[in-house]
């Protein structure tokens, strides 16, 4: 044996275990969310728990992936993410299916998180992928589904904050930035630090409208008026302006469907999984410090598996939803009805009585003998 010495009851940091009400509430949340996915005609995929490590790419998740060497010497990994797996399945096992495909999943992912961060290593994600569909329509569809999931859970005050990777990407390219300079800027924008962005640009001798635009990513408002301001602000950079135009189109469709009040603009959202190529969004609630879900468009990922097609999806974190709903006093999973204690003169008689009551739908507990 090797590794850290541990006591008999000790569990590894980050491992989770749910009992009683909490387990019931998680099942209830999952059932409601999956019924929304089914209601929009998405089909469940139960992907493998592990696959070749290269399926999951070499991006930000690579350093958090639990990988191991298989019996045949190949490098395998426990899934840190579902989207890559579903893309691979869509391009392989489902190759004969015509696009668009609407697929969903629900299950655990495993990520190594440094123990001191207080994060869990096992996370339950529920999500869907819309593969091969027309751009804006698919974007609007998955956002509408995300909003319906939150309604189905009776979660209060949730906001879908929309951004687009093309805004920052376009501005950074127009500024002639590359490599570490882009990462420095991305980090400061992701912290919404206007002075930090401005001073990073000054150090590189970048000024003018492009610099104003980059600083603007940290200060733009969130309401519908911010969309107009953004269009003006990024007029100097056609790719960024086009990206804002895409967001505006999706916002208009969602607003027409009555979802306007749930939306916010967040063009400063420049982090996240590196496979995103277009619209991105995160879902925030007032009673939880972290987002409860996230999603976006990833038009280049499927090509990695040999079946290029546009794609968009999102996921909700079951662990965070459960905590949010508990804080909001929602979905107090009703305890099960009290069981009927069944006994008899002999074990056989008791069992036979219990089976009878079970056939009539009762919740029974064998007792007595």
């Amino acid at each position: 044996m090797s590794g850290t010495p541990h006591t008999r009851a000790q569990i590894p940091a980050g491992a989770q275990c749910f009992v009683g009400d909490e387990a019931r509430r998680r099942r209830a949340i999952e059932a409601r969310v999956l019924s929304v996915f089914e209601g929009w005609d998405y089909e469940e995929i139960i992907p493998p728990l592990f696959d070749y490590a290269d399926v999951f790419g070499d991006g930000a998740l690579a350093s958090k992936t639990y990988s191991f060497v298989g019996r045949d010497g190949s490098l395998l990994a426990l899934r840190p993410d579902f989207t890559s797996l579903l893309a691979k399945i869509a391009a392989g096992r489902l190759l004969d299916r015509p696009a668009p495909m609407r697929l969903y999943y629900s299950g655990e992912v495993l990520r190594y998180e440094p123990p001191q961060a207080g994060r869990q290593s096992e996370l339950h994600q529920m999500g869907l992928e819309h593969l091969g569909g027309a751009g804006r329509a698919a974007d609007a569809e998955v956002l509408a589904i995300a909003a319906e999931c939150l309604d189905a859970l009776d979660a209060r005050g949730c906001v879908l904050a929309l951004g687009h990777v093309g805004v920052f990407g376009g501005l950074a390219a127009a500024a002639g930035l590359a490599g570490d300079d882009v990462e420095t800027l991305r980090e400061r924008i992701s912290r919404r630090d206007p002075e930090g962005v401005a001073s990073a640009l000054r150090r590189r001798g970048i000024g003018g409208a492009i610099a104003d635009g980059l600083v603007g990513l940290t200060t733009l408002g969130a309401g519908p008026e911010a969309l107009d301001q953004a269009v003006e602000r990024f007029a100097c950079c056609p790719p960024a302006a086009r990206a804002v135009g895409e967001v505006a189109e999706v916002v208009a469709a969602l607003a027409a469907a009555g979802l306007g009040p749930r939306l916010a603009l967040d063009l400063g959202e420049v982090r996240g999984l590196d496979y995103y190529t277009g619209l991105v969004f995160r879902i925030y609630a007032p009673d939880l410090g972290f987002e409860v879900g996230a999603g976006g468009r990833y038009d280049a990922l499927l090509a990695r598996f040999g079946r290029p097609m546009p794609a968009v999806g999102f996921m909700l974190g079951l662990d965070r939803l459960e905590r949010l709903l508990e804080r909001q006093g929602r979905l107090g999973a009703a305890p099960p009805p009290a069981a009927e204690v069944v006994s008899g003169p002999s074990l056989g008689a008791a069992l036979s009585r219990a089976r009878e009551r079970r056939a009539q739908g009762a919740r029974v507990r064998l007792g007595g003998s």
């Binding site: 906001v159 919404r192 630090d193 930090g196 408002g221 925030y284 007032p286 939880l288 410090g289 987002e291």
Partner: protein
């Protein structure tokens, strides 16, 4: 529900108080031992300086005031929309006056900032042993616990009194307003109003 602000009772407290007063915002009397105090629509938490980013990251506080040195060290995932302009200091490498560090292959560094220190030296390929201390870092080199230290300096007097001199800047620091990411979006109006009031007071 009112916004919750995390503050530390350390060296940033007086700057925070005068900033809140200039901004026309309530500020609690910092007397007594109560760690949670409400004042006219805001709730204040008094916590350790290194803990301010943690409270804000987890959303227990909607916002807080933390030094950039502390933000660099904790790496907390929070927004930093405003440099508040006070609490200016530098994070520096300091060593005994006249010593030469370059001779040793692995250097031992005593610090309250182990993450920043490791990133600073390892990032330049210098083999480093970090000795993490909770305070009184200045005495470590003289007692043979470390070859040098990484710590914050304002005037440099403490360094001087302990026979040390700053030889390298690691980062500049000042007080920052930090804001929880979810609250920034989900309680946008209240949070934006607070940021705006403080921004005007800083300018």
């Amino acid at each position: 529900m009112s916004l919750t602000v995390a503050l530390s009772k350390g060296k940033l407290l007086s700057g925070a108080e005068s900033l809140f007063r200039r901004a026309g915002l309530p500020f609690p009397a910092a007397e007594g031992r109560r760690l949670v105090v409400s004042a006219e629509g805001l709730r204040f938490l008094f916590v350790r300086d290194m803990d301010v980013p943690t409270y804000v990251e987890h959303g227990v506080a909607d916002c807080g005031i933390a030094g950039r040195d502390v933000l660099l060290e904790t790496g907390a995932d929070v927004y930093e929309p405003l440099d508040l302009g006070f609490g200016r200091c530098r994070l520096v490498v300091a060593q005994p006056r006249g010593a030469t560090l370059g001779r040793r292959s692995t250097i031992r560094v005593a610090t309250r900032y182990p993450r920043v220190t490791a990133a600073h030296f390892l990032g330049r390929g210098v083999p480093t042993e970090v000795v993490t201390l909770a305070g009184s870092v200045e005495i470590a080199p003289g007692l043979g616990l470390a070859d040098c230290i990484v710590d914050v300096v304002e005037t440099g007097r403490t360094l001087e009194e302990n026979g040390l001199e700053a030889v390298e800047d690691v980062a500049a620091s000042s007080a920052r307003l930090v804001v929880n990411r979810a609250g920034f979006h989900a309680r946008r109006e209240e949070v934006a109003r607070l940021i705006e009031a403080l921004r005007r007071a800083v300018a």
